[in-house]
C-alpha cells in the first residue's frame, strides 16, 4: 500500500476517534446527535477508502450500510424522538466534563499500550487501526456510564458499535457476513431501544435514569 493510502486511512480512523471525544464533550442532545452523525460519516469514509485502497469491493457495501443506517436513519429517528419527547434542552452529564475527558485520554493511552505489544507481528495499519477502534469502544462505554439520559446512553451504545465496524473494516479479509450481521443486530437493537424509550416515557414521564431508578421495587 502506498504511503498516501496509509496516511489517509490513519487520518480517517483518527477522525472517528476525535468524534468520540466530541461525543463525550457534548452537553445538549441535538449537538450530541449531530456529532454522532459526523462520526458515522467519518466511518463511512474510512470504509470506502479501505475498499478503494485495498481493492475490496464488498467494503463499499459496508460503507453504504453505515451511511444509510448510522448517518441518516438512526440520527433522524433519534432526532424525532427527542423533539417528540421535548427533551432537546436537557443538560445531563452525570460526571464532570473535565473528568470525563481525562478518563477518555487515559483510556486511549491504555488501548495503545495494550494493542501495540499484543499485535507486534501484524501490519502497521492493522495495529493502529485496532488501537483506534478499541479506544472508540472504550469511549463509547465511558459515554454510557457518564450520562443520565436514556437517549444519550443509546448514542453511547451506537458509538461502541461504530468502533467495532472500524475494527472490522481495518482488518483485511473480514468477511462481509460479519459486518452485515453486526449492522442488522444494531438495527434491531435500535428499534427495541426506540420502543423502550417510548414505553419508559409513557410509564414514568421521564427519561432520566436517576429518576427511573426510584421506581424499582427493591430500592429504598
Amino acid at each position: 500500500m502506498s504511503d498516501l493510502g496509509y496516511d489517509v486511512a490513519h487520518m480517517l480512523g483518527a477522525v472517528v476517534l476525535l468524534m468520540s471525544f466530541a461525543l463525550l464533550y457534548q452537553r445538549r442532545l441535538f449537538s450530541l446527535l449531530n456529532v454522532f452523525t459526523m462520526q458515522a460519516l467519518a466511518l463511512t469514509a474510512t470504509a470506502a477508502w479501505q475498499a478503494y485502497s485495498h481493492g475490496e469491493p464488498h467494503l463499499y457495501i459496508t460503507a453504504l450500510l453505515t451511511l444509510v443506517l448510522k448517518a441518516i436513519l438512526i440520527p433522524v429517528a433519534l432526532h424525532r424522538i427527542v423533539v417528540k419527547m421535548k427533551i432537546h434542552r436537557t443538560i445531563e452529564p452525570a460526571l464532570g466534563i473535565g473528568l470525563t475527558m481525562v478518563a477518555g485520554v487515559s483510556l486511549v493511552t491504555l488501548s495503545i499500550l495494550l494493542v501495540l505489544p499484543v499485535t507486534a507481528d501484524a501490519t502497521a495499519l492493522t495495529r493502529e487501526n485496532l488501537a483506534l477502534s478499541l479506544s472508540v469502544v472504550l469511549l463509547g462505554l465511558l459515554m454510557m456510564i457518564s450520562r443520565r439520559n436514556a437517549v444519550s446512553q443509546v448514542v453511547g451504545f451506537m458509538s461502541i458499535e461504530n468502533g467495532l465496524i472500524l475494527a472490522a473494516v481495518g482488518v483485511a479479509g473480514m468477511p462481509l457476513v460479519v459486518e452485515m450481521s453486526v449492522a442488522f443486530s444494531v438495527m434491531v437493537a435500535f428499534i427495541i431501544f426506540g420502543i423502550f424509550l417510548f414505553h419508559i416515557r409513557e410509564r414514568f414521564d421521564t427519561l432520566d435514569m436517576q429518576k427511573i431508578e426510584s421506581f424499582r421495587g427493591e430500592s429504598d
Partner: protein, 681 residues
C-alpha cells in the same frame, strides 16, 4: 482394564435397578449382591495384577472434554487402593444386606435404613465414584470422579434426614467437600499450567517450579486433607460419618478417607517429582496434630459411631505421619527407608480399612439390637450378642495396636521408620521426628484407652437400659460381614510379610526401592525390613507366645485360685443390697474423666458441672460435662463470621442502579485490560 471399567459400568446399572425396583422386596438383595460381585471382580483383578509384578493397564475413553478425553490407568498404587476400596465394598455389601433387612423387618428402627432416604440406588454409585477416582489418569476425570464420590456420599448422609442432627451434618459436609474440591481444582490447575495438558503423564513429565510445587503441596494438604479429616479440617467428619446408615459409615470412614490418602500419595509422590525436605516436615506436623487431637476427641464421646469417626481422624493422622516420613526420606535420598515408611502407610491404610469397617459394623449391630448409639445406654452385650462381642473385641484389639493383630504391625513398621531419623542431615527434622514419634506413641496409648472404654462400657458390666438387656444377636449376614474383616485382621497380624511383598511394585513406582532391599534372608513368615537399626518381627512367634501365656494363665487361675463361692453384685462399686446396675456402675463418662481432666481442661476447655441437691432433697445429683472443639473456635467460627460479613457486603450489590452496574462492568474491563497490558510488557 476393560474389566474394571465394565465392573464400574455394572455398578451404575445396579444403581439404576436399585432406583427402579425400590418397592420390590428383592431390591436390596439385587443391589447388595450386584455391588459385592462387582467389587469382588475389581479386587481380584487388582490383586492378580499386583501379584504379577506391577500392573500398568491404561485405557482412553472417548468421553469427557473433547480435547482431553478420559484417560484411565491402573498402576501399582491404584491397584493397592483398588483392593482396599473393594474389599471394604464387599464386606459392607454383605453387612448392609443384613442391616437393611433387619431394619426393614423391624419397621421401628430409630435409624430405619429402608424407610428413610434412598440408600439402594446411591450405594453402588458411591463405590463406583471411589473406584473411578483410583483409576483416573487425568485431572479432569479425577476431579469429576472425586466430586461424584463426594456427592454420592453426601446424599447417603442425607438419607437419614429424619434424624434431628443430620441436616446440620450434611450442610457442613457439603461445604467442606466443596472447599476440598476447590483446593484440588486449584492444585491441578497449577500442576497443568506448565504445558496446559491435564493428563497425569504430561504433568509427571513437566514437574513444576519450586514455588508452584510448594503451592500444590499446601493445596493438596488442604484439599485431600479436608476429605481425610486432618485437624483442623476435620470438623465435618464426626458429624457426617455417623449420620449415614452403618454400612455406609463404615465405607465413609474406613474407605473414603483412604481415597483421600490416595490423592495425597498420587500428587506428592508421583506427580510432583523430586520432593523438598520441608514438605514432609509440614505433612508430619499435620499428621501428629491430627493423631493426638483425634484420639482426645474420641475419648470424650459417648456416641459409639461418633467415637469411631474421631478415631478415624486419629488413624488418618498416623497414616499422614508415615507419608510425611516417606517424603522426608525420599528427599534425603535414602529410598529404602522411604519405602519402609511408605509401606507402613500403605499397611496402615489396609489395616484401618479392615478394623474400622469391622468396628462400624459392630456399632451397626449394636444399633440394630438395642436401637441406641449412646454408650451410656448399652452394657452387658457380651452375654446377649456373643459373636458380635468376640468380633468387636478383635477389632478393638487391632485398632489399639496390640500384638499379634494387624494394627500392631502397622505401628511397628512406622516406628521402625521413625527410629531412622538420626540418619537425616537437617537438625530441625531430627527434632521434629522425635516429637512426632512421641506424639504418635501418646496417641496410640490413648487409642488403647479409648477402645478399652468403648468395649468395656458397651459389652461388659450390666445392661444400662432395658433395650440393652433385651438385645438379641444380629442376623447371619451381618455376623458374616463382621467376621471377614476380623479374620483378615488376625491373618495380616500374624503374617504381614506377603501383603508388604504385594505392595512392593507400588513402592518401587513411588520411591524406587522396596523395604526389603539389601536383606539376603527373607522368608515369608518373618518381617525384617531394612533399616539402620535392623529389627525384625515374627507374628507367628508372637501368636504362639501369647497363646502359651494365655493357657498358662487360664490354667493357673483355674487351678490355684480359691474355689470358695462368693456372691456379690458385679460392678457394685461397694454397694450391697438392691441391684445397682444401671445407676451406680462405672460409666463411659467415668472412664473418660481422668483423661478429660488431664488434657481436656486446657485443650478443649472441658468443664465438669456438678448439680448437687441440698441436704434433704431427694432429687439425684447430676454431673454434666461441657467441652468445645478448638477447631471450631479457631478455624470454623471466624471463617463463618468472615463469610457472613462478606455476604452482607456483597448483598448491597443487588441494589445498585443500572448506571452503577455498567460502571462496575466497565471498571472490571479496564482493570483486566490493564493487567493484560502490564503482563505483555
Amino acid at each position: 482394564m476393560g474389566l474394571v471399567v465394565s465392573a464400574i459400568a455394572f455398578l451404575f446399572a445396579v444403581a439404576v435397578l436399585g432406583a427402579a425396583a425400590k418397592r420390590l422386596p428383592q431390591a436390596s438383595t439385587v443391589v447388595y449382591g450386584g455391588t459385592a460381585a462387582a467389587c469382588a471382580l475389581i479386587a481380584l483383578w487388582a490383586a492378580l495384577r499386583l501379584a504379577g509384578g506391577g500392573p500398568d493397564a491404561a485405557l482412553v475413553l472417548p468421553v469427557g472434554l473433547p480435547w482431553i478425553q478420559a484417560h484411565l490407568r491402573a498402576d501399582a498404587l491404584s491397584a493397592v487402593f483398588l483392593i482396599v476400596v473393594n474389599l471394604g465394598g464387599i464386606t459392607a455389601s454383605l453387612f448392609g444386606w443384613g442391616y437393611e433387612r433387619a431394619h426393614h423387618d423391624s419397621h421401628s428402627g430409630p435409624q430405619g435404613g429402608s424407610q428413610d432416604g434412598p440408600v439402594l440406588p446411591l450405594y453402588p454409585l458411591f463405590l463406583a465414584g471411589m473406584n473411578m477416582v483410583l483409576i483416573a489418569a487425568d485431572a479432569f476425570t479425577f476431579l469429576l470422579s472425586w466430586e461424584f464420590m463426594s456427592l454420592a456420599s453426601w446424599l447417603l448422609v442425607l438419607s437419614t434426614h429424619r434424624e434431628p442432627e443430620t441436616p446440620k451434618a450434611a450442610r457442613l459436609y457439603i461445604i467442606m467437600a466443596s472447599f476440598g474440591t476447590a483446593c484440588l481444582l486449584l492444585a491441578f490447575g497449577v500442576l497443568a499450567t506448565a504445558h496446559g495438558d491435564y493428563s497425569f503423564a504430561a504433568i509427571r513429565d513437566h514437574a513444576p517450579a519450586a514455588g508452584a510445587a510448594a503451592l500444590v503441596v499446601v493445596l493438596i494438604l488442604l484439599g485431600a486433607g479436608s476429605k481425610a479429616g486432618l485437624v483442623p479440617l476435620h470438623v465435618w467428619l464426626p458429624l457426617a460419618h455417623p449420620a449415614a446408615p452403618s454400612h455406609v459409615s463404615a465405607l465413609m470412614s474406613g474407605v473414603m478417607t483412604k481415597v483421600a490418602v490416595y490423592a495425597m500419595i498420587r500428587v506428592l509422590f508421583d506427580l510432583l517429582g523430586e520432593p523438598d525436605w520441608w514438605w514432609g516436615g509440614v505433612t508430619m506436623g499435620f499428621g501428629a496434630l491430627t493423631a493426638v487431637m483425634g484420639v482426645l476427641y474420641a475419648l470424650m464421646q459417648d456416641d459409639v459411631k461418633r467415637l469411631l469417626a474421631y478415631s478415624t481422624v486419629e488413624n488418618i493422622g498416623a497414616i499422614v505421619i508415615a507419608l510425611g516420613l516417606a517424603l522426608v526420606f525420599k528427599a534425603a535420598h535414602t529410598p529404602v527407608i522411604a519405602a519402609l515408611a511408605l509401606a507402613a502407610a500403605l499397611l496402615h491404610v489396609v489395616n484401618h480399612s479392615l478394623f474400622k469397617s469391622l468396628l462400624f459394623f459392630a456399632a451397626g449391630a449394636m444399633l440394630t439390637a438395642t436401637g441406641s448409639r449412646d454408650l451410656n445406654r448399652l452394657g452387658g452385650l457380651i452375654h446377649r450378642m456373643p459373636t458380635t462381642a468376640v468380633l468387636a473385641l478383635i477389632g478393638a484389639t487391632a485398632i489399639s495396636a496390640l500384638p499379634p493383630l494387624n494394627g500392631f504391625v502397622g505401628e511397628w513398621l512406622l516406628f521402625q521408620a521413625i527410629l531412622n531419623a538420626p540418619a537425616l542431615s537437617e537438625w530441625s527434622l531430627k527434632i521434629e521426628i522425635a516429637v512426632v514419634g512421641a506424639a504418635l506413641a501418646l496417641a496410640t496409648a490413648l487409642a488403647a484407652a479409648c477402645f478399652v472404654r468403648l468395649y468395656g462400657i458397651a459389652f461388659l458390666g450390666r445392661p444400662r437400659s432395658r433395650a440393652a438387656g433385651e438385645a438379641v444377636e444380629v442376623g447371619r449376614a451381618m455376623r458374616l460381614g463382621m467376621a471377614v474383616p476380623a479374620v483378615l485382621c488376625v491373618v495380616l497380624g500374624v503374617l504381614p510379610t506377603p501383603l508388604i511383598r504385594l505392595f512392593e511394585p507400588a513402592l518401587r513406582l513411588l520411591v524406587e526401592a522396596g523395604p526389603f532391599d539389601g536383606r539376603a534372608y527373607q522368608p515369608w513368615f518373618w518381617l525384617a525390613p531394612t533399616s539402620a537399626i535392623g529389627n525384625s518381627y515374627n507374628g507367628l512367634i508372637m501368636l504362639v507366645v501369647i497363646a502359651l501365656l494365655s493357657v498358662v494363665l487360664v490354667l493357673g487361675i483355674h487351678r490355684k485360685a480359691s474355689d470358695r463361692v462368693r456372691w456379690s453384685i458385679p460392678w457394685g462399686c461397694g454397694f450391697d443390697g438392691p441391684d445397682p446396675a444401671a445407676v451406680t456402675q462405672y460409666t463411659a463418662s467415668s472412664f473418660g474423666q481422668p483423661i478429660r481432666r488431664a488434657f481436656g481442661s486446657t485443650v478443649f476447655r472441658a468443664r465438669d458441672h456438678v448439680d448437687m441437691p441440698a441436704p434433704g432433697d431427694t432429687r439425684p445429683a447430676r454431673l454434666s460435662v461441657t467441652w468445645t472443639d478448638p477447631a471450631w473456635v479457631v478455624v470454623v467460627e471466624p471463617l463463618s463470621r468472615a463469610v457472613g460479613w462478606l455476604a452482607e457486603k456483597a448483598n448491597r450489590l443487588q441494589f445498585l442502579t443500572i448506571r452503577r452496574y455498567l460502571t462496575l462492568m466497565f471498571l472490571a474491563l479496564v482493570v483486566l485490560l490493564v493487567m493484560v497490558a502490564v503482563t505483555q510488557r
